[in-house]
């Protein structure tokens, strides 16, 4: 079922994720959709999470890691996880330096420099930014469109809020247990007769409003809140929709199947498929080469129909020239909506 209007309806969501295998045209589809939405009057933020950004290139302007106006109603952002991680680590460094002896400053620097290059740091920093945008969605912009990195990366990104919220839950559980012991200590009375090695615990039990206990609790709760809101919004079909882009070719069809399965394991359903660069019968031209390609594409389109029959699909024909710049993006946008 190739339904016109299915993508148009998706513009009324708050968040759209555009995913798919590398090189299928995710950025093109995301940018076309964003510019068409902006033309229709939606204020739109287009965000690239791919470490190799190409949003700026497709619009022919410099974008980078800050919200940049592209045209009326359209703002774009290329997330730079390295910059986010560096800023986070600088904050931790400053907090640490307020607590240690100045002669240890170089140690603090060294340890935290290492943390900046630890595996997972960039991923966590990217998640942080995406989570912030998702939490704010619906307030500053009508529509948030994510042009994501190739499939595996995005599946991982979408699974992180769940992993991280269960991790913070675990830590908070231990804090709660410690708190219960502290409360019990209070009912036993603090006669100041506890043995010396435990005396500091008694003082912690009666903690002041700005104690480390409260600080830990606050930090963890703030994290948890962000992860939970992000996850809720991503899983709510009325708020967030996922579009997968694929090409009529063997590898792209196989990968799309895998992505659909792995997203389903996180309870995420695909709203529609965009079949990009299809050599449809509407494209004129003949000759042995082009006829063979056309036959192959129609075979693949049939296969897509039988494999992904239950998903709404939109076909975007192969263009005679590269797609970049506002005019050609608007043309693609018309075919999508």
């Amino acid at each position: 079922m190739t339904i016109s209007g299915v993508v148009r309806d998706l513009l009324d969501r708050q968040i759209l994720f555009i995913g798919g295998k590398g090189g299928v045209g995710k950025t093109t589809i995301a940018a076309s959709l964003a510019i068409s939405a902006a033309d229709l009057g939606y204020t739109c933020l287009l965000v690239s999470t791919d470490p190799a950004h190409s949003l700026g290139d497709i619009f022919g302007i410099e974008i980078g890691d800050s919200e940049t106006t592209v045209s009326e109603n359209l703002t774009a952002l290329e997330i730079d996880p390295e910059r986010t991680a560096t800023a986070h680590i600088v904050t931790v460094k400053d907090n640490m330096k307020r607590l240690v002896h100045p002669r240890l400053y170089s140690e603090v620097d060294r340890q935290l420099e290492l943390a900046a290059h630890a595996p997972g740091t960039m991923e966590a920093a990217l998640l942080e930014r995406v989570a912030e945008l998702v939490c704010e969605s619906g307030s500053k912009y009508d529509l948030l469109i994510f042009d994501t990195a190739p499939s595996g990366h995005t599946v991982r990104l979408l699974s992180l809020p769940e992993i991280m919220s269960s991790w913070t839950d675990g830590l908070l559980k231990h804090r709660a247990q410690s708190g219960r012991f502290a409360a019990m200590l209070k009912t036993f009375g603090n006669a100041g007769q506890a043995s010396d090695e435990l005396s500091h615990l008694d003082s912690v039990a009666d903690h002041a409003p700005d104690s480390p206990e409260d600080r830990i609790q606050d930090l963890l709760s703030a994290r948890r809140r962000k992860f939970i809101i992000t996850r809720e919004r991503l899983l709510d079909a009325k708020t967030t929709s996922f579009l997968l882009v694929l090409n009529p070719d063997h590898l792209s069809i196989l990968e799309t199947e895998k992505v659909i399965t792995s997203l389903l394991s996180f309870d995420i359903k695909i709203a529609a498929l965009v079949i990009n660069r299809a050599l449809t019968s509407s494209i004129s031209g003949s000759g042995e080469f082009i006829n063979s390609r056309r036959t192959q594409d129609s075979e693949y389109l049939d296969r897509i129909k039988s494999v992904f029959g239950s998903f709404p699909r939109v076909v975007v024909p192969l263009q005679p020239r590269d797609v970049y710049g506002f005019d050609s993006l608007r043309d693609i946008g018309k075919k999508l909506l």
Partner: protein, 90 residues
């Protein structure tokens, strides 16, 4: 019950008795709590000990808050200085 202004004999006797019964429990609970806090600290410093932690980026912000407790821990363990190469507190 531990009100120091209560100077009557019965008051003092009451305090003594509740101390007598509560003291062993207080010690046990305080130790259980300390163990719980040590475990929590282990989670936060996991990566520094070579234990993979999925959330190092997020535990990082807890490290400064735990600095003092970390110091107490290593002195309690009889180590004069921090045993972690990359994490020194004194």
């Amino acid at each position: 019950m531990t009100d120091p202004s209560n100077a009557s004999v019965w008051g003092r006797l009451g305090t003594l008795l509740s101390e007598f019964y509560n003291a062993p429990y207080r010690g046990a609970v305080a130790r259980a709590r300390r163990d719980e806090d040590d475990l929590f600290m282990l989670f936060v410093f996991a990566e520094l000990l070579g234990i993979p932690n999925p959330a190092t980026y997020y535990t990082l912000e807890l490290q400064p808050v735990l600095l003092e407790r970390f110091h107490q821990w290593h002195t309690r363990m009889g180590l004069e200085h921090s045993p972690l190469d990359h994490f020194r507190c004194c």
